[in-house]
Symmetry: C2
Subunit: 322 residues, 2 copies
């Protein structure tokens, strides 16, 4: 069994790769919900949706969000009616939000709704939200505190970020399947996908109990760098690092995860950073353009985990000491 911690696009790509090189039911994808928000009265979970659409083959691979078979009548009409259109909701995508919202209001948990909707979309791996409790990522910017989607979509990541907050995280309980899997002797690896550390991975780590469970977990923890040669493949990771006073590099991301990491996969382009990284480094092509790229990177991650497990069996413990 493998656990993948994922945000949106980058994480979903690697999760898809993993799901194609192993029995999909043995993959547990734990997804950030700090991006979740209410819009037009609908409960929207962008990272869960991106992961579900990606794993079911429904994703629009050109734009990195939504579905490939989408139509836009709703949005066109909403515009004519003077409604909010800054968050683009396709007609098919909308069905997911309307149905999820109805079921959440009806008292079902986000994870129960997610499991059922994923099953109906034909998603193989188990997809669970990091928590069923509300966590909302907020950013302190030059425009003041902004809700995540206000910053990310409405303001196109333009405001300068100086601080992040995961509202509600302190009172949230991690998803029980996540914690149970971390303690499962059959667990082979925890993969921190190439997602934005600040807004995709750290909300997961901010939930009480998650860090301890990761530290106590016997399986190796391996991250894949979301930064290649100082740039993020997608999204504001590099820009945000600069604004937060950090050097935007694969090494800096490893430092964020610090004592959690046993292994770290970086791009060949970042070979020079190996010396600065306090974990067993694997070089790879980390840019995932084709399906083959996704599978190849997934294989490298799985093999790196196997190596770390073998080394531990031979007394060559990996760095992390629970």
């Amino acid at each position: 069994m493998i656990i993948a911690l994922s945000g949106g696009v980058g994480g979903a790509k690697l999760a898809l790769g993993l799901s194609r090189i192993m029995p999909p039911e043995d993959l547990l994808v734990v997804v950030n919900t700090g991006d979740d928000f209410e819009h037009l009265g609908l409960s929207i979970s962008p990272d869960i949706d991106t992961v579900a659409y990606t794993l079911s083959g429904l994703a629009n691979r050109e734009v990195g969000w939504g579905r490939h078979d989408e139509t836009w009548s709703f949005m066109e009409t909403m515009e004519a009616l003077g409604g909010d259109t800054w968050f683009r909701l396709g007609d098919r995508d909308l069905a997911l939000h309307v149905e999820r919202t109805r079921r959440l209001r009806n008292g079902e948990s986000l994870s129960a709704v997610t499991a059922d909707l994923c099953r109906r979309m034909g998603v193989g791996p188990r997809v669970v939200p990091m928590t069923d409790d509300p966590v909302r990522t907020r950013l302190l910017t030059d425009l003041g505190w902004l809700d995540f989607q206000e910053y990310f979509v409405h303001r196109r990541c333009e405001p300068v970020v100086s601080q992040l907050q995961f509202q509600g995280a302190g009172a949230a309980k991690p998803h029980p399947a996540f914690i149970a899997a971390l303690a499962d002797p059959a667990l082979e690896a925890v993969v921190i996908c190439p997602s934005n550390p600040f807004i995709s991975v750290e909300p997961i780590l901010a939930i009480p109990g998650v860090r301890d469970a990761l530290m106590a977990c016997k399986a190796p923890i391996i991250a894949v760098s979301p930064i290649i040669a100082g740039r993020a493949v997608k999204g504001p990771t590099a820009k945000m690092m600069t604004e937060l006073g950090m050097d935007p590099s694969a090494g800096t991301v490893a430092q964020r995860y610090a004592d959690l990491l046993d292994g770290y996969v970086i791009d060949h382009a970042d070979m020079a950073e190996v010396v600065s990284i306090d974990a067993r480094v694997t070089l790879a092509q980390t840019l995932m353009t084709t399906m083959e790229d996704r599978e190849a990177l997934a294989k490298i991650v799985v093999e790196a985990a196997a190596t770390l497990r073998r080394r531990e069996m031979h007394g060559l413990r990996h760095r992390r000491v629970p």
Copy 2:
């Protein structure tokens, strides 16, 4: 100025005819909201929507509900996700419901939202809900009490109706523009459109103050029969009358409105019923197939009202005595 009391399709057709033979802003359409319901978390007002779509030229004239330029991606996806699909919501139609629901939750009144959305759709006449308070038509049937849309759409009007109830009507306040218009000396006629008396017109009449204001109103009140030769043009009017122990005829509908009526427009086919009707009867072609039909019937109604007003000026009072 003319007031039209309307339900869905039949009423909307005559309202459209009226709006084309007079300055549209002088027409006030008061619409039944007893059919309103919550579905998939959305506030849906079927009669208001039918009236708005009809008056703006957006209506689907083939099926009698929804828009002519509709797409169905949402509904298709909802079906794939296992959601409710018995109430057909097109992608464009959905925008109206989502935006209305958002604004209602935000504290706006149904009439404020309706006025603004109608303006944006290019509706000429003023369209007001009969009340801003919730009224819900329920029917006692051989399957027990059913909510209106459950009976009307989900069960296709198949259950046998024995009783109707307008839940909330007793505590509802009529829309102030409606009551003000009834007292306006410039009012030329109140037209009860050819809608189902039980489920479209009587919910309006059930609101405290409406009957009194109609009785006190100086302008003539004219109904158009929704029954032609014993059959309803559309919907369960005739079936319902039979189930309620009434003869399904134009005359029976007039008896329902009884002391409210000054004039009554029936189809040529129902000429034999004239003797049984206690109001000044006008014969006309009441089936509205083409736009010319709508306009011609509207003209006949307006002329019948003018005749009633002239007769009153000459001391030939119409029947109704306030």
